[in-house]
């Protein structure tokens, strides 16, 4: 009898040791950075917080393609094709060394096949080959984030230019292993050019005009065409980082913030290269992006523009960064009022 009891105890001990080993192994793996996580996505102009962890995680990204009506200008509607219902699509943030599982769903209400080509992906079509997704369908692929930088993603289903012209693009950041320098505010802006049957300002629901698109004569040029409305905000003394993408399909942007100088620019999104300093206007080509950083010293409404200025003033490529705080006369002060009496 006693022998049997001892055998039972020994078995229990063995089981306990196995469970303990299992727990330790599991804990150890998590500590080594092989965590599973679902990427936090944000709608422009918001950016997900910096990743406070090492690279090498297993990250899942979920996107859904949809086709929906939205405003293109006051009184002007357009049927956008989107990732997650916004233009640009959500901001995706992963880290160098992460393995990313990308799940793409195409809404059953879509009329078209959609897909995704992520410029950060090393592989066939940047993922487009694996993600041609019919309405109501789902596809997936896995890739490793090898190169840090800020990358455009876009739909790559025939006729590709039409899908892009209708708004199917967004940005994905591969943070470098040590992260980017800390800043106070981060925002997400993507420029796109749009081609409507009616002239600029013609009211009502506007159809896509492929001839104008071929001629590269947009009726509208927009920042964050169908995203969260409102101004970007910062306080005097803060450093602002803008992730600036260009979905195109056609125009190269001359991105400029009126009344500011970019202290730092990762030109063409080339994280890892020596950034440029003291830049007034930076080029952002279609299918490309840049990261600009600047400290805001003076309160004002700073206007983001494509400095090919007809696009800004006449076609809509305008955004506002609202900076509040104390005046800083050492840096800037008006010397004479421009009031109604001026000149009289």
């Amino acid at each position: 009898m006693q022998l049997k009891e001892e055998e039972k105890m020994a078995k229990k001990m063995k089981l306990a040791v196995l469970v303990l080993i299992g727990l330790l192994v599991g804990f150890g793996l998590n500590n080594n950075g092989y965590a599973n996580e679902t990427a936090q996505l944000t709608t422009a102009p918001e950016v997900p917080p910096a990743l406070n962890r090492a690279g090498g995680a297993q990250v899942t990204v979920e996107l859904e393609t949809t086709e929906k009506k939205g405003a293109l200008a006051e009184g002007v509607e357009y049927t956008y094709w989107t990732f997650n219902g916004t233009v640009p699509g959500p901001f995706v943030r992963v880290k160098e060394g992460d393995t990313v599982t990308f799940n793409l769903k195409n809404s059953k209400d879509s009329k078209n096949i959609h897909s995704i080509d992520i410029h950060a992906v090393t592989g066939p079509g940047g993922g487009a080959k694996a993600t041609q997704t019919p309405p109501g369908g789902k596809t997936a692929f896995q890739w490793k984030a090898i190169n840090p930088g800020i990358y455009i993603y876009h739909c790559a289903t025939a006729h590709i230019p039409t899908h892009i012209a209708n708004g199917m693009y967004g940005l994905l950041l591969v943070e470098p292993a040590n992260g980017l320098p800390k800043v106070d505010k981060e925002y997400y802006v993507v420029q796109g050019d749009f081609y409507t049957k009616g002239k600029t300002g013609a009211k009502g629901l506007q159809a896509f005009d492929v001839e104008k698109a071929r001629a590269e004569q947009p009726t509208y040029v927009k920042f964050n065409a169908m995203a969260t409305p409102g101004n970007l905000k910062a306080n005097v003394g803060e450093t602002v980082r803008l992730y600036v993408g260009n979905g195109g399909p056609n125009l190269t942007s001359s991105f400029h913030v009126i009344g500011e100088i970019f202290d730092t620019v990762y030109q063409l999104g080339a994280v890892g290269s020596e950034p440029a300093k003291n830049v007034q206007t930076t080029v952002v080509p279609p299918g490309g992006a840049a990261i600009v950083e600047f400290k805001v010293d003076v309160p004002a409404a700073y206007i983001l523009v494509d400095h090919a200025i007809f696009r800004a003033i006449d076609k809509g490529a305008v955004g506002i960064l609202e900076v509040t705080g104390n005046e800083n006369p050492d840096v800037y002060k008006a010397l004479k009022s421009g009031g109604a009496d001026a000149g009289h």
Binding site: N112, I113, G136, G137, A158, H159, V210
Partner: protein
Amino acid sequence: MNIKVRLSFAAILVIPLYLTFLALQTDIAQAADEHEADHKALESSPEHETYEVKVPESKLSEVKALKNVVALNKKSLSEAKAVYTGKGTCFNCHGEKGRGDGELASSFEPPPRNFTIPGWQKVRSDGELFWVITNGTDHGMPGFGDMLSDEEKWSLVNYIRNFGKHSGLASKK
């Protein structure tokens, strides 16, 4: 009845018959000419290039020998229509009536296939249609290899043939 009257009757009967015969001959000859002209026009037209065989030479005989496994009936056509206007998204480019005039047609050059064109229906076998639906083309037609089942693709072949039949054509099996 004298001979003159008889001859007159014969003439009254024979002359219209002869004229009818001549007219028919002309019609037949004209039809043949038109048929030949169609072929010549097709061969010399800029569209002729788009009638080129899409299937690689090495696979052509195998593909042409494929037989449609889906029966042609109301039920299968109705299912095919659901694919054509639904997840297959065919209508966006090829149009609801198969005339190649869908909403996105103008984005493509050459334009999407007009399934009602007699010449095209004649030169394409069912197997080739199935192959193109599966693999796509260099002109922007996506391959549906992973997106549709074989049964759905064969149903679409029937549905495409139906566009031809509606324009008075028989399919080429």
